[in-house]
């Protein structure tokens, strides 16, 4: 029974990793850009929510909703004024610019908020749990997983049911032809990064409520997100969720065997998948 419990916890943890990964997956899918500052942007989002909660006394969920337009604007501006300039066949400039951004963000947060670890207080919600068939499940992990499902369903709807989604897919397939049809790739890219930042805000909300965070933890979140994307297969959002779940289960099972092995087990699961299925479990895009 303890193993069933461990695996269930792992699956729910996977929801958090899928939230980390969804924004990364979206941006990569549309413009083949790997944002090395993705993890640090999640941490930035968490600090923004924390700031709103502390200053105004809002509930964290309302604070996250307030933070979303700001994060959207940040993503939009970042893409429009910085990242669009370095997109191209050469992968070096976007990688190095986002790497620089990661270092800048980490140290700006360090300067602004100090290295002390923080937490977004969620009141009784953080300890609440419900019992299903003899297994106690935390409300917070359940909520995280549900949010991941909502985000992925929402993104799929956006992609396949709206004109913006059609523009996303068209630009992803062939920016030159898409621009002949009256789509401005630069604007589409900016909107995509803006939407990715909204998902980042949701991820930040749960990151901040579930555990302590400090300015230095961004890169590790980026790695988990990246592993989830690769395991799932590039371009598949449901695959990303599966990837998150695999990392989550590997981590909780690893931790159950030896607490020091938690992170290592997640990485090893990733390497095993890379060995057996180099293109991920559910590959869609051919890159």
């Amino acid at each position: 029974m303890i193993w069933v419990d461990t695996i269930l916890q792992g699956i729910l943890l996977g929801g958090l990793y899928a939230l980390f990964a969804a924004g990364l997956s979206l941006v990569f899918g549309i413009m083949r850009l790997v944002n090395l500052a993705h993890g640090d942007l999640i941490v930035l989002g968490a600090y923004l929510i924390l700031l709103l909660v502390t200053l105004t006394g809002l509930s964290p969920f309302v604070a996250a909703a307030v933070a979303m337009p700001f994060m959207f604007a940040l993503g939009y501006g970042l893409q429009k004024f910085m990242l669009n300039r370095v997109l191209g066949d050469d992968i070096l400039p976007p990688l190095l610019v986002t790497f620089g951004l990661s270092v800048v963000l980490q140290n700006a947060l360090l300067e602004g908020f100090s290295a002390d670890s923080q937490r977004i207080q969620a009141g009784s919600l953080s300890t609440a749990s419900i019992e299903i068939a003899g297994i106690g499940l935390g409300v917070m992990p359940l909520l995280t997983f549900a949010s991941a499902l909502v985000v992925i369903i929402g993104l799929n709807q956006l992609f396949y049911r709206t004109s913006l989604g059609r523009a996303f897919r068209a630009t992803s397939d062939d920016p030159t032809t898409a621009s002949l049809m009256g789509i401005k790739p630069a604007g589409i890219f900016a909107k995509a990064t803006g939407i990715a930042m909204i998902i980042v805000t949701i991820a930040a909300l749960y990151l901040g409520m579930r555990s302590n965070f400090d300015p230095s933890i961004g890169p590790a979140r980026l790695i988990y997100a990246f592993e989830a994307v690769i395991i799932g297969g590039l371009g598949s959002l449901w695959g990303t969720l599966a990837g998150g779940v695999i990392i989550g289960v590997a981590q909780t099972v690893g931790a159950a065997i030896n607490p020091e092995w938690q992170i290592l087990a997640g990485h090893l699961a990733f390497l095993v998948v890379l060995l057996v299925r180099p293109r991920g479990l559910f590959p869609r895009a051919v890159d």
Binding site: R85, V86, I91, F99, V103, Q106, I223
Partner: protein, 361 residues
């Protein structure tokens, strides 16, 4: 190609490169003689500059010439350092000889790393190397005989009668700690010179030409018979070996190691990337200029802690946006000066329509 008239010469040498060769030789002699009159802190600064230069040259070989952007070079620094500590502590080897073991350990680690990371395309390669560096760090932290997660120091018995230190102590009349710094510094001079000379030699051979072709257009390079995969393996393994040697040497001087320090992304990859980016990716001169700028910035701003890193990051971003070929690229574009030219030029004779062929190599 024997039809080519003997009046024609294919050469890479320029006037600037001939001058720079003489200056470089003089600088090396000066660098080797430096401990005779320099203070210990200057020797330590020079050691830092030289080892960072070596790391930057190898990262530049990977990214600038091989098109392989690695964010996991700390894996090779760390494994080189830990292998050096391991054979000193467990087998009683001399630390100086153990640096070589560090390089070999990095080379061995590079084989599985490349096997995994080469499965990832382009940008994902970068994070793939990073994951592997994390895995190695977490595994090394489990290695209790070299201190586990908290780390350990080189045993006093190993550092006190290390090769050459006795001779240096009597030569310069210094204490053993200072003698160790001088020894490490000399080794760093040798390593830096060997690195630059080796990379320059590699780039001027037929392999180097193939490497540049793969970087510029992989499909075109393949179509004229360059084995792109072998090229990538070559630069990856060479870089790992050199980075491992540097790792062993850096921790010989530090004499104290911990997994978090030896596998630090910031110290061994972030700084190194900024050095190469600021100086200019894809040139040998770039990292040399970059490491000097980096050192000056660090001396000026180190007291400001995180502000310093923010400035460094912003400079890196600005350079990538506005001068992607770095400071050396700006200088070289305006003046046409290349200190380490790799371009082959056709000189001598008169160019006519009938003799349009030129011989490479």
């Amino acid at each position: 190609m024997s039809k080519l008239s003997s009046n024609y010469l294919v050469q890479t040498r320029t006037r600037a490169s001939s001058i720079s060769a003489i200056v470089a030789l003089a600088l090396v002699v000066l660098a080797l003689a430096l401990p005779a009159f320099a203070s210990r802190s200057l020797i330590q600064d020079m050691f830092f500059i030289l080892t960072m230069l070596v790391l930057a040259q190898f990262w530049n070989l990977l990214a600038g010439y091989g098109g392989l952007v690695s964010v996991g070079q700390q894996a090779f620094v760390g494994i080189g350092a830990y292998a050096m500590f391991g054979v000193v502590i467990l087998l009683g080897f001399d630390p100086v000889a153990s640096i070589l073991i560090g390089g070999i350990a990095a080379l061995v680690l590079a084989i599985p790393t490349a096997f995994f990371a080469f499965r990832l395309q382009g940008a994902y390669f970068a994070i793939g190397t990073w994951v592997i560096a994390e895995v190695v760090r977490l595994l090394v932290a489990q290695w209790k005989q070299v201190g586990g997660g908290t780390g350990t120091s080189l045993p006093r018995s190993a550092t006190s009668d290390m090769w050459f230190t006795g001779a240096i102590e009597t030569l310069f009349d210094v204490k053993s700690a200072a003698a160790r710094d001088i020894l490490a510094y000399w080794l760093a001079v040798v390593l830096a010179v060997a690195t630059i000379a080796g990379i320059y030699w590699l780039l001027r051979t037929k392999r180097g030409l193939g490497l540049a072709a793969v970087r510029d257009n992989i499909e075109a390079a393949k179509s004229v018979g360059v084995d792109a995969v072998r090229m990538k393996w070559l630069v990856f393994l060479v870089s790992a070996f050199g980075t491992g040697l540097a790792g062993g040497l850096i921790y010989l001087q530090k004499a104290r190691i911990s997994p978090d320090a030896a596998f630090s992304l910031q110290d061994w990859t972030a700084y190194v990337i900024f050095i190469a980016v600021i100086g200019g990716i894809g040139t040998i001169e770039g990292p040399i200029l970059g490491v000097l700028v980096f050192f000056i910035l660090q001396s000026l701003l180190a007291d400001y802690g995180s502000w310093y890193l923010m400035v460094l990051g912003l400079i890196g971003i600005a350079i990538m946006l506005f001068a992607p070929r770095g400071l050396w690229g700006l200088f070289s574009d305006r003046t046409g000066i290349e200190l380490f030219p790799v371009r082959r030029r056709l000189t001598g004779g008169r160019l006519s329509a009938t003799s349009s062929s030129s011989k490479e190599e």
